[in-house]
């Protein structure tokens, strides 16, 4: 039995490790940018797909299928990103006689459509953000909607987008005037005055539920993840459990997630993403029909191996996940080759030094190594740091400790952001929502410019002046007789 990993980077490495533990043979694929990448080195077999651009390599269905054919791989795991939620790819795999490690293509399709998935959720009794199904004919309809679903509301232009024509409505008293103005604005902007109302979820958190489905029809929810720390809708830090979800709410959101998965007869690992309001009400956002980037925090806390389980399911084996129980708290940091002090500008290039943290409760899922190149062609994620400890405060202390051991030089990284987070009061108290990080970054109150210490100056001066004698046990250098080295003196550095 042989599995082809149709991906690269840390997730390819994660899947390859799971295969090795399962005794499943592995085929890696690579573009010309990745011939020397860790995910290739770790596989039993490897097939070149094409040039660096993803279109010609990791996104080429044709070349991936050819690679599977050439190596005799029976299974294809898409990872996340690239073709992971592409129903046509899943279908092409099945049609080529391969086992696609994921749900049925129909489930991918249904959940890939905003309208179709909302319809199914509605039927399954999973709450979605309430909204009017058609434009309001009069201000009265707005007030009626508000009376039914509560304020504040958001008026949106039917023909709109990009925030234009959007208007907040705080109470019934404002409904009429707001409707007039929003309608006029919409007419002016889009030539169409139609507006509709949606319930506005204020300061929402992003909470998601991990589900594992099996062809037998069994679907298990494995708790929630807190993913509110986002930069422009991109998750940066994830936790398990959520600091604001207690047992009762957990039971409710897990039940809703199972209903959501059941509505598409889900048969793999998947995630139901929810918007959680401060009052504990929650709304379906979307379902990700694949293994998530942040799956490790669930694995650590719930003691499950999602990647392994997903492959086992695809192999037709029974669930081994049982009735898992939570223990402790886990946090994941996504480490990108981006400079958080420069608007998260990507920083491709060669990794000079890479020191990974280790010890208790530290897990490194990393797709690069020292001396390797971070190509400009793909998502610049280098890997993930996952910590696990008995409770949230201990997990943050452990994260802080691990970050003090973590070193990446040669390319910029998001490590400074995480170092700032673990020292931030609001983060420590768990007081954040999906806009929190963008807000704090915009305010400039999170990333303080590093303060140079006296010891830094000494380190700089000493290093430039010749640093250390040779380490004990090593031979002295062959060069000698430098009078400067004999009695070095570097005056007036500053």
């Amino acid at each position: 039995m042989k599995l082809l990993v149709a991906n690269r980077g840390e997730i390819a490495v994660r899947i390859l490790r799971a295969c090795r533990e399962l005794g499943v043979g592995t085929v890696a694929v690579f573009s010309d940018a990745d011939r020397s990448a860790p995910h290739v080195a770790m596989a039993d077999e490897a097939v070149r797909l094409g040039p660096a651009p993803a279109r010609e390599s990791y996104l080429s269905v044709e070349r991936l299928l050819a690679a599977a054919r050439a190596t005799g791989a029976r299974l294809v795991h898409p990872g996340y990103g690239f073709l992971a939620e592409n129903a046509a790819f899943a279908r092409a795999c099945v049609e080529a006689g391969l086992i696609f490690v994921g749900p049925d293509p129909a489930a991918i399709e249904a959940m890939g459509s905003k309208t179709e998935s909302r319809r199914r959720m509605h039927e399954a009794g999973v709450p979605v953000v309430p909204g009017m199904m058609k434009p309001a004919a009069a201000a009265r309809e707005i007030a009626e909607f508000g009376a039914k679903h509560g304020y504040p509301l958001l008026l949106k232009a039917s023909a709109g987008g990009g925030g234009k024509g959007m208007r907040r409505v705080e109470s019934a008293a404002e409904a009429s005037a707001a409707f007039e103005r929003a309608s006029a604005e919409a007419a002016a902007s889009f030539g169409d005055g139609a507006v509709y109302a949606e319930k506005l979820v204020e300061r929402p958190r992003h909470v998601e539920v991990q589900v594992v489905g099996h062809p037998s029809g069994e679907i298990v929810a494995v708790g929630e993840r807190e993913c509110s720390i986002q930069r422009r809708h991109q998750k940066v830090v994830e936790e398990c459990p959520s600091p604001v979800v207690g047992p009762a709410l957990r039971e409710r959101i897990c039940a809703a997630a199972v209903r959501a998965a059941e509505s598409v007869a889900y048969t793999s690992c998947g995630t139901v993403e929810l918007l959680l309001a401060p009052d504990g009400s929650f709304y379906f956002l979307e379902m990700n029909t694949r293994l998530q980037v942040e799956h490790p925090v669930t694995e650590e806390v719930w003691g499950v191996d999602l990647c392994r389980e997903m492959i086992r399911i695809a192999l037709g084996e029974p669930l081994t996940i049982g009735r898992p129980a939570m223990r402790g708290h886990a946090i994941e940091c996504r480490i990108y080759a981006e400079n958080p002090s420069r608007g998260f500008a990507p920083s491709p290039g060669a990794i000079a030094a890479l020191r990974l943290p280790a010890g208790p409760g530290v897990r490194n899922d990393v797709g690069v190594e020292a001396g390797g190149i971070v190509p400009i062609d793909y998502d610049p994620m280098l890997g993930k740091l996952i910590v696990h400890a008995g409770e949230r405060s201990a997990a943050i202390a452990r994260l802080s400790r691990a970050l003090s051991e973590y070193e990446i030089t040669g390319v910029d990284s998001t490590l400074p952001l995480f170092r700032a987070l673990v020292a931030d009061g609001e983060f420590l108290r768990g007081e954040f929502d999906v806009q929190w990080l963008d807000r704090r970054l915009a305010e400039g109150t999170l990333l303080a410019p590093p303060r140079v210490r006296e010891e830094d100056v000494v380190l700089a001066a000493v290093a430039l002046a010749g640093g250390a004698a040779v380490p004990a046990g090593q031979n002295p250098p062959s060069s000698n007789g430098s009078p400067w080295r004999q009695a070095g003196r570097l005056e007036a550095l500053r």
């Binding site: 100056v457 430039l464 007789g481 080295r485 007036a492």
Partner: protein, 159 residues
């Protein structure tokens, strides 16, 4: 600011305060600085040009400005040489000559770049501190030089 000593053992003086520091190189290339009071700092330092030094301590990157003085002092104009009015340009640190921009007999102006010296991975433009004529050029591009090595002699053409 003043730094005296030799690799492994240094004395750092700044604002009248003196600190002795013992330095060891770690297997991964970092330096461990151990101060006399027991305090330790481990990290890397890399000159990034323009007198800036990037230090990495506990994975955190900070930039220290060692500024022009270091830059300038990579070569120094030593005491009068053979003839009066001679300026000896010597390497203050071990390094490698990347480029020699003048030849013997050339006229140089004060402040003109005469050669480029690479030290600690930083390329440093070495300038003449006074105008004159290149009386001697003791180095060639590519050549390694010890700290203190004579590189160039500029003779004051008015001397």
């Amino acid at each position: 600011m003043r730094l005296e000593g030799e690799p492994g053992a240094w004395r750092f003086t700044r604002d009248g305060l003196t600190r002795d520091v013992s330095v060891a190189k770690l297997p991964d290339g970092r330096l461990s600085l151990l101060f006399a009071d027991g305090r330790q700092v481990c990290g890397r330092a890399r000159a990034t040009g323009m007198g800036q030094v990037e230090v990495v301590v506990a994975g955190e990157v900070r930039t220290v400005a060692l500024a022009d003085p270091l830059h300038d002092r990579l070569s120094h104009s030593a005491a009068p040489g053979a003839g009066s009015g001679d300026e000896e340009v010597r390497a203050l640190m071990p390094g490698r000559v990347v480029e020699v921009r003048v030849a013997e007999g050339d006229r140089v102006a004060s402040g003109q770049v005469v050669l480029v010296l690479e030290a600690m991975k930083m390329q440093n433009e070495i300038r003449a501190s006074a105008g004159g004529v290149v009386a001697r050029c003791a180095v060639a591009a590519g050549q390694a030089v010890d700290g203190g090595a004579l590189m160039l002699v500029v003779r004051d053409s008015n001397g």
